[in-house]
Symmetry: C3
Amino acid sequence: MLRIVAADSGAAELDSNFSVKSIIATAAVYLGFPYKRPIDYICLTKPFDPDSSEYVVRELELAGQLAKKHKPDQIHIDISLGGIRLEDLNREFLEHAKISNRGKQQLLGVLDKIREVGMRIKKETGSDILFIGKESWAVRIAELTTAACAVKYGVEKALQGEPVIIGLPRRCSITITRDYVIARSLFYDETDIVGYIRYSVPNDVIISEFPNPLAMGFRAIKIQRM
Amino acid sequence: MLRIVAADSGAAELDSNFSVKSIIATAAVYLGFPYKRPIDYICLTKPFDPDSSEYVVRELELAGQLAKKHKPDQIHIDISLGGIRLEDLNREFLEHAKISNRGKQQLLGVLDKIREVGMRIKKETGSDILFIGKESWAVRIAELTTAACAVKYGVEKALQGEPVIIGLPRRCSITITRDYVIARSLFYDETDIVGYIRYSVPNDVIISEFPNPLAMGFRAIKIQRM
Amino acid sequence: MLRIVAADSGAAELDSNFSVKSIIATAAVYLGFPYKRPIDYICLTKPFDPDSSEYVVRELELAGQLAKKHKPDQIHIDISLGGIRLEDLNREFLEHAKISNRGKQQLLGVLDKIREVGMRIKKETGSDILFIGKESWAVRIAELTTAACAVKYGVEKALQGEPVIIGLPRRCSITITRDYVIARSLFYDETDIVGYIRYSVPNDVIISEFPNPLAMGFRAIKIQRM
């Protein structure tokens, strides 16, 4: 059955009033049947401005990197355009797309770059590139994976100084095991779906999770040295 | 308290790329307090084109058939028009309704038929006929029931040849018991709600369930002979 | 971290056809880290017409009363205006807000009163007043608390005569313990979040909970004397 690489960006660094300072992570995941957890993944934790549009190209590049290794049937990029293929994504389509004006302007600004990078990836991998966003469960698993990646980033930052607060993706909860950081979904139909990274959180780090009171559906974690 | 008959169509046959080939089942259910599982049900598994509008009349006919037996207070049909009564459903109302243009054209095309069949049912049963769709928990239980019906259809088809892939209704999961196929809801506030049919799945059939990677919120099952 | 008072109105008295007769309760809650249950709360159970707009001022007054005691950083009022502050809420803002026309008219009608009461509370408490509605988890906890308050109201009314049917807030379920009425959330990412009141339900009262068949996502309880 269908083999898929999907990419998404997520997990925010928050200030003590729970305002977003930056988006921390981009993750690409490789999935096959039964589509419940990544067979392979890569993470990039380089915080970027939530208002910039650079993340789209970053997701595409990261997905391309993983796709070169696995040659999947499809690549899913987290832009909710109903699953349109790269070949059909052009200025005219975007202008008529049912997305916010701000999102539209952002995408139009990087459209040429998206097409250039996308065409190169398609040539190298033979994969169909779909802009499918939140309709894709593969993108959701990439989203969960960003949370696991962001925990590692937060732990390393907190070890150097102040506590770090991370806003997790919607309906996501973190479980720490000896060898893994696991990001579980808190949608009841996704209890068998996870993102994860292989990473051992040092023993002198405390991670506490709580609902973000200003953003229903979202949890936050506070990471601090003991 | 209120006794209700509700009808819905659902469960899709998918190809190996998870594209919808047809909608498999229509179910009508009869519910009374405490509205958690059908007291009675009927199923029709005759696949139809997802783009056709014939399903509305089919739902109405099936609901009418069950309603004749139970004389409920209300009949709920799965069209999300805010619970409007049959008597008030006319061309003018539909033209101003907040539904997609495509849905509107489809409904306008079968409106006369809906009114004709509906009026006959109302006369025979004394029940109020409401177009309430996804706001009704009774319609949701009919939707779950279509999943159970579709499993039987899929098993019988798979026994004759190739594996069958069925896309379940949103947030639905199948449990097979000795005498029943049970369709549970995967909404966390619906854990006590089920649809079911009485049917024993043969022992040489394997059913595996997995998230449909292209449709977040939806699971699929693969049915095959051992 | 942030300390918050939030207010909401909810829980409806229903007739035997599940139509709303009135909204029963307004609750204000005081929350601190980790934002999972109220540290303190107050309830007002004085049924009001669901079509009136008086509830906004009532929520503000109740929140103000609790805020005077706790001097929180923020006060959250259940109007979904994206978290706008009291100081920025004016006629022009409301006229351009993306809310229903009916909601807009209602708010415009009580805007002067909102500003007057709000300014007084801000002066007395030093708290920022935000109109944030369903995006705030604090407002959600206030919403759950209205359900617990409404149970007490319903029990006292049922003890005097006829059974009472209460429509709970969306995705909410009631648990009765010896000393508390607890309103749990039925969102799977809110299993650690509750509202509650201290109240002992008399032993000769029977409370049964069931899905409201006409309102998906909502449960109802029937309260009656033994």
